[in-house]
């Protein structure tokens, strides 16, 4: 599947040479290493975590790093390393689920707008513009508590606010692709609109969009941490990097370690995914320089 996509995007397979270029690019190598490290530590959090991330041990509260607790303990004496490892699971799941859902829904509406009747296009674009009018974090802060803090709410907000971005990209791509000769040929052969879009246009336009989406993963990771920090995200005692950061902020005068423990995994994750995304884009499609 990905090989076929890469073939269509770049006209050639992601051969060993492309992968070698990715690894030889210092940014790509660092990014890939960080992302692999993050995925492995999240997958095997249960095996790697030295303690139960929710086990409270008040006498051992707010300890600096030691052999027993590599990243120290929080205000309830919970092991911060264990909490950070499990926090990685939350960060990754929220980012991947949100990206996937936003892409799928954005694709549906984008294709509908791009290939559907004019009035439907106008309505969908207006709806996209309306959603994009809200500053995401501020909207989340307002409506999050109404739906109850938790992972579902975070994913719901992230998906709802990013659908318009993907929707617009799909719409523009479909409109551009509709002028292509192969589409005219298919129409001349009497093929129906929906079939052309799904069977023929989609495989042609989705590659670059997937790269754009992969570059949004760090944004979603940061948003999950941010929302949890604000109290509209994941709720304690579940572990999240944002919650560790929030604890760290509350006890910043007593110890710097909680802030460091909550921020280092978050920084490494966002840097890793950003570096990898940049390098991937350069390797697979040098033309696809994403404007900020």
């Amino acid at each position: 599947m990905t090989r076929a996509l890469a073939l269509r995007m770049t006209g050639r397979l992601p051969d060993a040479a492309a992968l070698r270029r990715l690894i030889l690019d210092p940014m790509g190598a660092v990014g890939l290493a960080l992302v692999v490290l993050l995925i492995l530590s999240a997958l095997f959090a249960g095996l790697l975590a030295p303690y139960d991330p929710t086990a409270i041990n008040v006498p051992a509260k707010l300890q600096p790093p030691s052999w027993d607790h590599w990243l120290g303990t929080d205000q309830l004496g919970r092991d911060v390393l264990s909490r950070a490892l499990y926090g990685g699971q939350i960060a990754l799941s929220v980012a991947l689920v949100s990206t996937g859902l936003a892409l799928a829904i954005g694709m549906f509406f984008g294709l509908l707008a791009g290939f559907g009747p004019r009035w439907l296009d106008n309505i969908i674009v207006l709806a996209f513009d309306t959603v994009r009018a809200y500053p995401v974090i501020i909207l989340a802060l307002a409506v999050g508590p109404l739906f109850g803090a938790g992972m579902t709410t975070v994913i719901g907000i992230l998906v709802a606010t990013s659908v318009p971005y993907y929707g617009r990209i799909f719409r523009t791509s479909v409109i551009a692709a509709a002028k292509a000769e192969y589409v005219e040929a298919l129409q001349a052969m009497g093929m129906r609109g929906a079939r052309i879009v799904v069977r023929h246009m989609l495989p042609n336009i989705i590659g670059p969009i997937l790269i754009v989406a992969s570059m949004d993963i760090p944004t979603f990771i940061a948003a999950e941490a941010g929302l949890s920090f604000l109290g509209v995200g994941v709720k304690p005692p579940t572990s999240s990097w944002g919650l560790i950061l929030d604890d760290g902020y509350k006890f910043i005068r007593q110890t710097p370690w909680l802030v460091i423990a909550g921020s280092v995994p978050l920084i490494l994750a966002t840097l890793g995914f950003t570096f990898l995304g940049e390098a991937l884009r350069d390797v697979f499609d040098p033309k696809l320089r994403k404007e900020p």
Binding site: M27, L126, D129, T130, R132, A133, Y134, P135, V136, I137, I138, L139, L141, A142, V143, P145, L146, F147, G148, P218, A222, A225, G226, F229, L230, V232, G242, L245, G248, Y249, I252, R253, P256, V259, S263, L266, I267, T270, L271, F273, T274, F275, E278, R289, E291, P292
Partner: protein, 315 residues
């Protein structure tokens, strides 16, 4: 051009009306209804019913929306449940603080990002250029909340160089500025990276243009060519990102205001959400949405004026 500007403003107004109507429906339709939320768990059904009637929540939804829109357009955003004064007065105190923070952040981003991008483009493929590239990407990647907390950890709690909380003494410019530094860095530093990348890319394009070659052929000194002629053209695309930029910066401002307990829309909302002060929460979202819509509309219009081709690309 005038027709485009008017149409763009009309669209902005329409989107604003739709956005506040949607928000109203969302708040009413959410599982935790504002009446129960504001009155607390001990309110009896009779009290709730009276309260709903007082706020006009017993009308059909379209009527409610119409009433809400009418009062919003008249500047009536309800009463702040904490201070018992009109919400618009509360916003009038906090909104300028947020705008001040956004302006300082944009200034910081422009003052650092544009020269960095320009110098990187002039020394293309040098070590300096690569370093700016990695730095830009890193600045973009690190979330504002982390910069804010580290700023506080290092420069306030640790070294004690800069104040940790508040927005400074009213009327004391130096104190206000000192309080502005850390939050502005937290909000603006990511945009240093964005602007550096953007200016570098457009500068490289401009430096290979014919008129730059001509200027050099006429024997103009290199700094004059780069900074007087090329840079002026190369910074124009930064206007295109102003709209998106303000949206993201508003989010970052929430974190900076909360971390540094600095008055502003974000801090106001955060406190209002905890107190279930719904009119203020809604009012703050409205104000923030309005800032975003005005900035995207302005950025689109500026773009169309700078480069008329832009109009068609949006249509």
């Amino acid at each position: 051009m005038l027709a485009y500007i008017l149409r763009r403003i009309g669209l902005g107004v329409l989107v604003f009306l739709l956005a506040i109507s949607t928000l109203y429906i969302l708040v009413q339709a959410a599982p935790g209804d504002p009446a129960s939320a504001m009155l607390g768990p001990r309110a009896t059904p009779a009290i709730k019913a009276a309260f709903r009637e007082k706020l006009g929540l017993d009308y059909p939804m379209p009527v409610q929306i119409f009433n809400y829109l009418t009062s919003v357009l008249q500047g009536d955003l309800g009463v702040d449940l904490k201070t018992k004064r009109p919400v618009i007065d509360t916003l009038a105190v906090h909104l300028p603080r947020t705008i001040e923070l956004l302006a300082a952040s944009l200034l910081l981003a422009a003052c650092l990002g544009i020269p960095l991008g320009c110098m990187a483009a002039v020394r293309r493929n040098s070590v300096f250029d690569r370093a700016v590239g990695v730095l830009s990407v890193s600045l973009i990647a690190v979330p504002a909340v982390i910069i804010a907390i580290y700023g506080m950890l290092i420069f306030s709690a640790g070294l004690g160089w800069l104040p940790a909380i508040g927005a400074g003494e009213e009327g004391d410019l130096l104190s206000r500025l000192r309080h502005l530094i850390l939050p502005a860095v937290a909000v603006g530093i990511g945009w240093v990276g964005y602007l550096a990348r953007l200016v570098r890319a457009s500068m490289i394009e401009v430096l290979s243009a014919n008129y730059v070659r001509n200027a050099r052929a006429f024997g103009l000194r290199e700094p004059r060519v780069v900074y007087r002629y090329a840079l002026r053209i190369a910074v124009a695309p930064t206007v295109t990102v102003l709209g998106i930029g303000v949206g993201i910066m508003l989010g970052s401002a929430v974190f900076a205001e909360i971390v540094f307990a600095r008055p502003g829309i974000g801090k106001l909302m955060y406190d209002a959400v905890i107190l279930r002060n719904y009119p203020v929460t809604l009012g703050a979202v409205l104000a923030a949405t309005l800032i975003l819509i005005v900035s995207t509309t302005a950025s689109d219009i500026l773009n169309a004026i700078i480069d008329p081709r832009f109009k068609e690309s949006r249509e």
